[in-house]
């Protein structure tokens, strides 16, 4: 591209990020978010929104609608209900694995960044793990927006070359003979892992099962365990 474009991006970057921090430190940055003086990206985005509203290019109420959808309505509880249904109903599970879009739509979910879904099943023998090495592709209708770690350079770079090491970092040590399948979301297909149903959950209701299913298990960086009740990971 042109020198102008590069200069502009540099300027935009400098203005956007005087307080630039690597992905990995966002968790720590979060602790300081209630500071009195807004950081530079805050000022820049405020100025941009005011410009776009003033020019009649965006409707603030529509922006609020989008934020509300992903902050309050769409999240990993949707995926957890899909998983619990698959665990409870073998017919549903077959439909989910053969035509994920239709099966997920049966539960009332679908839409932006989940237009083309694939569900992959974990078992005693096979462990699936999902990444987007090129950007941040993630199945929004069933998992919501991705967490910072999923979008971060450490996960994107390493999961594909050392999935077992990455899983160990998440506290999951896989037996040597398990087959690891890493799914890189390079196209418009979005992947959801159907975790193994944990032992000791026989006879549990679908609602109770859904409570056990975590976001991390549906990305493939964790297993579902009965002791995880009540966590939101």
């Amino acid at each position: 591209m042109t020198t102008t474009r590069r200069d502009f991006l540099t300027a935009a970057a400098a203005t956007a990020g005087a307080a630039m921090t690597p992905d990995v430190s966002q968790a720590h940055q979060h602790e300081h978010e209630h500071q009195a003086v807004p950081s530079d990206p805050a000022l820049r985005v405020k100025s941009l929104e005011s410009l776009l509203v003033e020019k009649g290019l965006v409707d603030r109420a529509a922006l609020d609608t989008l934020v509300d959808a992903y902050e309050h309505k769409i999240g990993p509880r949707n995926g957890a209900r899909v998983v619990a249904r698959a665990w409870s109903d073998s017919g549903y599970k077959q439909r989910l694995l053969s035509d994920a879009d239709a099966a997920i739509a049966e539960m009332g979910y679908g839409g932006l960044q989940g237009e083309h879904m694939v569900v992959v099943e974990n078992s005693v023998r096979v462990h699936n793990l999902v990444v987007c090495t090129l950007c941040s592709c993630y199945p929004w209708p069933v998992l919501g927006l991705p967490p910072v770690w999923y979008k971060s350079a450490p996960y994107r770079s390493r999961s594909v070359i050392d999935p077992r090491g990455v899983l160990r970092e998440f506290g999951l040590e896989l037996p040597e003979d398990v087959e690891v399948r890493l799914w890189d979301s390079t196209a418009e297909l979005r992947y959801l892992v159907l975790p193994e149903r944990p032992a000791g959950t026989e006879g549990m209701s679908e609602e109770a099962l859904a409570e056990l299913v975590t976001r991390d298990a549906m990305v493939g960086v964790a297993k579902v365990s009965v002791s995880k009740v009540g966590t939101v990971r």
Binding site: L134, S152, E188
Partner: protein, 219 residues
Amino acid sequence: MNGIHDMGGMHGMGPIVEEKNEPVFHHEWERRIFAMNRAMGAWGKWNLDASRHSRELIPPAEYLRMSYYERWVAGLAELIVQGGLTTRAEIESGVPVAGSVKAAPVLTVEKAVALVAKGVPASRNVPVTARFNVGQRVRARNINPTGHTRLPRYARGKVGTVYLDHGIYVFPDTNAHFLGEKPQHVYSVRFAARELWGDQAAPQDSVYVDMWDDYLEPA
């Protein structure tokens, strides 16, 4: 382009930091830039592939230094200028140039609700013949385009097997540059982890990469 965004297989990026009970957004400005990206996309001046490419064009050192949504700020600023929706001067000043006519927003509340619920399918219902069959051995082409591509460097030149034919989708390498959708088959191609990474990988492990027809050749 062989940019920093194509980071599959790199070392040295540090530990993975998982935040307990992480909020969806960490700052108010992240909420706003997330929503503005979608609302401005509704003007139809660019597409998803072009918006990904706008972030790939951020110089590597800055890309790594920026947080995720800071990249969105830089990317959106570039897209709206390139798309003729604002000028650079307007972005810097935060106010419209004198005499500019006020538009009516394309993304209304109703359209926002529909966008979330229906999405924007990238599949195309057009007759295109698949050049490869499920089960066929294929090689990812060794290409190094300077523009947008979704063929990661780690897979180029490697041999795998077609595992699934996902159907027909818009081709990002042309679409990102407004050179047409060039719809074609996308396959899930299974690469043995050892084909990609050598003996350090476990013999039974594999990496599945979604590949457009144009990325592949018979092996």
